[in-house]
């Protein structure tokens, strides 16, 4: 039995070694994604292309605008002369945000009537728009406070003018470092994607080649075959976790506050669930194309419903239920907690237990289905 397992592993690693592109498919996307998430996937935006139309030409309007320059968040690309030009700037994509200060701004501000400030954002990227609006509201609120302080030493009525009401997203928090939030998450998403697809493809390839049937007429037992096909990818998954952890902490200075052994335990349970899922997908696919399609179909919802980017608490109730059977959900909690909070088994045991249960269930179902699919 050990001979047979050994030769299965040997074969798998030899095939991987001979595959000239393996290194590109395995390591490069991983590093690339970490870099991309590290630099690009952030909720903090800066240098938003902005066009400005100042119809008031007062010192107050200039003071407000200077606040926009000062933050560095807005990059003034155009000083528009007319409303039409603003529209053109937005339509052509020259600017994402337009700030229009209407005539009478300074006067009404002094009267405490509420000064008209119009902000137009290009809503086609709702994320950027929302974030930009958030900044606008902050800047104007501060400006308003400053204006009130200088004009009315003791404010009588709250001037209702320059307020941009904005519903803020739960995760939008200037104090939180987005990179710290994302990179540990990437450990979960990328490893899941890689391990599930590698396992599914490896099994389906043998089915497609016909080698599966040949192996099944040899004295190997189905469970030995399954071990032979999953352990290598499990190990690759652990390698992924280590790689992203090291890269993330060294390159992006993400703190690693917790115990590496707890991370190892969490990763082990998570990867067992992942190889189980890969094996399960393989039993539904006759060809690699089918496996590819199926993989795509499953992986996307797993990402979306994991809390990787969208908070679970903000999802509709039904979708929240789905997250309960998503191993990624629990692993993300575990990874982030280990990295950022440094908590241990005492706090994480419910998530680890859920991961263990999911891994056991996933493996059991997939092994049963795999045995049946041999016929």
């Amino acid at each position: 039995m050990l001979d047979r397992l050994y030769v299965m592993f040997m074969k798998e690693f030899l095939e991987l070694k001979r595959d000239r592109w393996a290194i590109f498919r395995l390591v490069v996307p991983l590093i690339l994604q970490v870099v991309i998430y590290g630099y690009a996937a952030t909720f903090t935006i800066s240098h938003v292309a902005t066009t400005v139309l100042d119809l008031d030409h007062s010192s107050a309007s200039r003071a407000l605008l200077s606040r926009f320059y000062a933050t560095g968040r807005f990059n003034i690309v155009d000083m528009a002369a007319s409303q039409a030009q603003v529209t053109r700037d937005i339509d052509t994509g020259t600017a994402t945000v337009a700030i229009i200060i209407h005539a009478g701004f300074a006067r009404q501000l002094l009267n405490g009537q509420g000064a008209p400030l119009q902000v137009i954002v290009d809503g086609s990227n709702s994320n950027t728009a929302l974030i930009a609006l958030g900044y606008v509201s902050q800047i104007t609120a501060r400006f308003q406070a400053g204006a009130m302080a200088s004009a009315w030493p003791q404010p009588a009525t709250p001037p209702g003018g320059i307020t941009v009401s904005l519903e803020q997203r739960p995760w939008f928090n200037e104090g939180l470092n987005d990179v710290w939030f994302f990179i540990p998450g990437v450990i979960g998403t990328l490893t899941l994607m890689q391990v599930v697809s590698l396992t599914a493809f490896a099994v389906v390839r043998e089915r497609e080649l016909g080698t599966l049937e040949q192996i099944m007429v040899s004295p190997i037992r189905p469970f030995e075959f399954i071990l032979g096909k999953t352990v290598p990818f499990f190990l690759i998954g652990l390698g992924d976790v280590a790689l992203v952890t090291i890269f993330g902490t060294l390159w992006f200075d993400i703190p690693f506050a917790g115990n590496p052994l707890v991370l190892l335990l969490g990763a082990t349970l998570f990867l067992l669930a992942a190889v189980g899922l890969g094996l399960l997908l393989s039993t539904f696919s006759r060809t690699q194309q089918q496996a590819f399609a199926l993989n795509f179909f499953f992986i996307n919802p797993l990402f979306t419903l994991s809390g990787f980017a969208f908070p679970i608490a903000a999802m509709p109730r039904v979708l929240q239920w789905f997250t309960l059977i998503n191993p990624l959900r629990y692993f993300l909690v575990v990874v982030r907690a280990i990295f950022l909070k440094g908590v241990g088994l005492g706090a994480l045991w419910p998530d680890l237990a859920a991961l263990a249960a999911l891994a056991a269930g996933m493996l059991a179902i997939s092994i049963l289905r795999f045995r049946k699919s041999l016929d």
Partner: protein, 311 residues
């Protein structure tokens, strides 16, 4: 169960959904035989082979290989049996030697024996110079021979080959058959399916299959004797016209187009030959020759089973 029989199948039935792939097939194969299944596409040859190999469960019926019940104990036959599927899958990123090594390890062949045996088989297959080549870079015939080497590395006593030489060049086919004859000498029972009729003639016994049933099963010689009527070969520039002209001629039992000639099965060759020539002359169809020939398995298949002949 019979002592001399290496393989016994009784009343095998297997359907896939509404398709009855194999319906009520029984046969028994003696030790040391080369037993062939011949039949058109979809006849059920592969399905029978897979059931014999223990990778597909029959809906009903029984199979014994070397006295072991395959259905009750599929693990029990694995070391005795070797199965080469219709498309033998090789690991294309592994070398010839590594592919062989893989199967040797799966079957726990001791290392000492393995080396000697691999050398011998590679030699016979003409693959010795290519041991370090990646399997993916072999020609079709070489791949098939490598498949055979892999299938034989553990010295099985029953060898199942599903269309082993389909798409293999004539030279490789000769190597292939030389290996099979050698194995037979050493007492290995060989069960194969084939689409090639010349190959079918080399079998010690042949089962003619069509639509999931074995219609006849005997030695090639006796099958030929069982064919009703005699055979006339008519060569002509336009054999299709010949076939059309003779379809309803008296005494004609069957017609089979074979390239530039038509094989006409008649009740009495001596009497019908001049009659047929006269009929063709009357219709102005040029004939290059008419002669009596011995039937080939192809003719026998069409005469006995009817319908489309195997390729």
């Amino acid at each position: 169960m019979n002592n001399g029989a290496a393989v016994i199948a009784q009343n095998l039935v297997r359907s896939f959904g509404a398709t009855a792939a194999v319906s009520d097939v029984s046969f028994s194969i003696q030790r040391g035989e080369i037993f062939g299944f011949a039949g058109p596409d979809g006849a059920g040859k592969t399905t029978v082979m897979r059931m014999l190999a223990g990778v597909l469960r029959p809906d009903s019926g029984g199979i014994a290989v070397e006295g072991i019940d395959v259905i009750a104990n599929p693990e029990g036959i694995k070391s005795l049996l070797s199965y080469m599927p219709q498309r033998f899958g090789l690991y294309e990123d592994l070398t010839v030697a590594e592919n062989i090594f893989f199967y040797a390890e799966l079957f726990s062949v001791p290392r000492k024996i393995r080396l000697a045996r691999a050398r011998e088989l590679l030699e016979a297959a003409g693959l010795s110079p290519f041991q370090k080549r990646l399997a993916g870079q072999l020609s079709g015939g070489m791949k098939q021979k490598l498949g055979l080497v892999c299938a034989l590395i553990h010295t099985p006593s029953v060898l199942l080959l599903d269309e082993p030489t389909t798409g293999v060049d004539p030279v490789s086919r000769r190597d292939f058959w030389a290996i099979l004859y050698n194995l037979r000498e050493s007492g290995v029972t060989i069960v194969l399916s084939t689409a090639y009729m010349d190959e079918a003639e080399r079998c010690s016994r042949l089962a003619l299959m069509d639509a999931g049933k074995i219609h006849y099963c005997d030695t090639p010689a006796r099958l030929k004797q069982a064919m009703p009527g005699m055979l006339l070969a008519i060569t002509a520039a336009d054999p299709r016209a010949v076939r059309a002209a003779l379809a309803d001629a008296p005494g004609v039992l069957g017609l089979l187009l074979m390239g530039d000639r038509v094989n006409v099965r008649v009740d009495d060759a001596a009497r019908r030959a001049p009659e047929l020539r006269a009929r063709l002359d009357a219709q102005n169809i040029a004939v290059t020759g008419i002669s009596r020939i011995e039937p080939a398995i192809e003719d026998v298949f069409v005469a006995l089973v009817g319908g489309g002949a195997p390729a």
